[in-house]
């Protein structure tokens, strides 16, 4: 079982991203359970969504406390919440940021960071900092656990309220192409 926690801010589509990722994984034959953490939804407030997938039936309908991978779709939300809380040793961080890995303070048990200037890409594509689908491309690149074609197929089945399908397909592909992966020394092969 692989467990993912997505951090974002209200209005950025973290919950929608978990639904799209779930659909992509089901398309590949996985069992998936995606649960949004809940609060009083408001724009800008920190938001969390959980997703677990496996080749076996998933029975637990619970939140995720020890993720294998953390996706942070907002560059500043890590100032407000501990995005590394409970992360399994050897895990992967997929982070929206302009920074380089060397300029970041990272916990020692991380194995890999995947960084993507998702806001820069989003401003070019959407003219707004909507980074959710870009960061799904970054997740695919960082982990290899979902195929880019499966993500595109899931996007095609998604009902977008205020952004076009074509733009989102470009977004997920650019997220995939423009993510920089760093293996951290302690875990280098």
């Amino acid at each position: 079982m692989h467990e993912v926690r997505i951090h974002g801010r209200g209005g950025q589509g973290a919950v929608m991203a978990s639904g799209i990722l779930a659909a992509a994984l089901v398309g590949e034959g996985r069992h998936v359970m995606a649960i949004p953490a809940f609060g009083f939804e408001r724009r800008g407030a920190p938001v969390v969504a959980f997703l677990r997938f496996d080749d076996r039936e998933i029975r637990r309908v619970t939140n995720i406390y020890a993720p294998d991978t953390v996706i942070v779709i907002d560059p500043t939300v890590a100032r407000s919440v501990d995005v590394f809380a409970g992360m399994k040793p050897g895990g992967t961080l997929v982070q929206s940021t302009k920074k380089a890995a060397a300029d970041m303070v990272l916990p020692s048990h991380l194995a890999r960071v995947a960084l993507c200037d998702a806001v820069g890409i989003a401003m070019a594509i959407f003219k707004r900092p909507i980074t959710n689908t870009i960061m799904l491309g970054a997740f695919a690149r960082a982990t290899g656990l979902v195929g880019i074609d499966s993500l595109v197929a899931a996007l095609e089945a998604t009902d977008f309220r205020d952004a076009g399908l074509k733009q989102n397909i470009e977004a997920v592909r650019r997220g995939f192409d423009e993510t920089i992966i760093t293996q951290l020394a302690a875990h280098a092969a």
């Binding site: 779930a22 089901v26 034959g29 649960i35 998933i58 029975r59 637990r60 309908v61």
Partner: protein, 410 residues
Amino acid sequence: MSAPATLKATSRTMVIDGNEAAAWGAALSRPDVVAVYPITPQSSLVEYLAKFIAEGKMDAELMDVEGEHSVLSVLHGACLAGGRTYSATSAQGLAYMFEPYFRTPGLRLPMVVSLVTRDSVTPCCVWGGQQDAMTVKEVGWIQMYCETQQEICDSIPIAYKVAEHADVMLPVNVCHDGNYLSYGVARVDLPEQEVVDAFLGEKNVNWHACLDPERPMAVDPLTGGAGGIGPSTFVRYRKGQCAGMAAALDVIVAAHEDWGRRTGRYWSPLIEDYRMEDAEVALVTIGSMTGAAKDAVDDARLDGRKVGLVKIKTFRPFPAKVIAKALSKVKAVGVVDRAVNFGWNCGPVFQEVLAALYANPTRVPLISFIGGLAGADITPEHFGRAIADTVRVAAGETMSSPIWLNEFDQ
């Protein structure tokens, strides 16, 4: 993880949350009239229904009325006119619906209403829990609790089959947990429309009393009192209602069996036994908490503890005999509730199981666990503690009950 591709998706495969699964279950059952008023965490369910109707995926009259009292009142009229009816509500909405809600089973109206279960104020909260559904357990509605999104979708057609059965003629609440199921997303394979149509058969919703201008009739005149045929007439109605409830147990089993034959999905109709064959202690669960509890049972088995689990699907009518039988061989039972029974200082399911076991020749000690209130999570670790405590009870230890599973959450 190994390479995927074990589970082929089909054109009927959806990846949706529990509220959308319920809306699809309703749409596939072809109700004539749907009346709605939104309330968290049910709101998206009725938004899906409105969308399906607007897009022509569902051919039903949508009545967007001013509150839940009106929701159920207009559905009374629709159902008395022979229509198949559907709605959904939660918590305070159910409270506001209560006056017509109480009348529905007595009128023998076979409607289906989803309860997207939520804890009930006060303290003010809008999150999952089963306090709302448990509070109305004595009103005379059938109650079935779902464990997964797929089971939600499938249980709504099953509920119509039960409700409209001539031996039953009672309303059904299909309950699914707010938040964890209502917003939780998983794979759902929609049954084919033709399969649901064949399962439900020709629509004959209300053959016993039908509003018809050609044949005027009075429905529900003043009945009872202390004189003449009043008392005996009232008793006749009440006895009939109780007989319908009792008959529902067999009908529920048959309807689930029929559904299984048509779809390949055989849901446990009344209760599900999990690893009970040689179990020395058992947990009793209800709803979406069950998956985490099964994982905890497997963990305890790996540690050499003989633990089993009994999940309740049908809570009303209470399947007392099958529960007593399922729990007849264990040395202790831990019942996990997602609601509170204030009168007995325990969980409501606990009290029911306690009563069911009274008929057993051997006295089994029970312990009440209460968790998952107001959206709280019940994790495999919480269930692990519940199992450990139940094992201690089996060993003869006396423990203070109830045990509040989330009391020390940080």
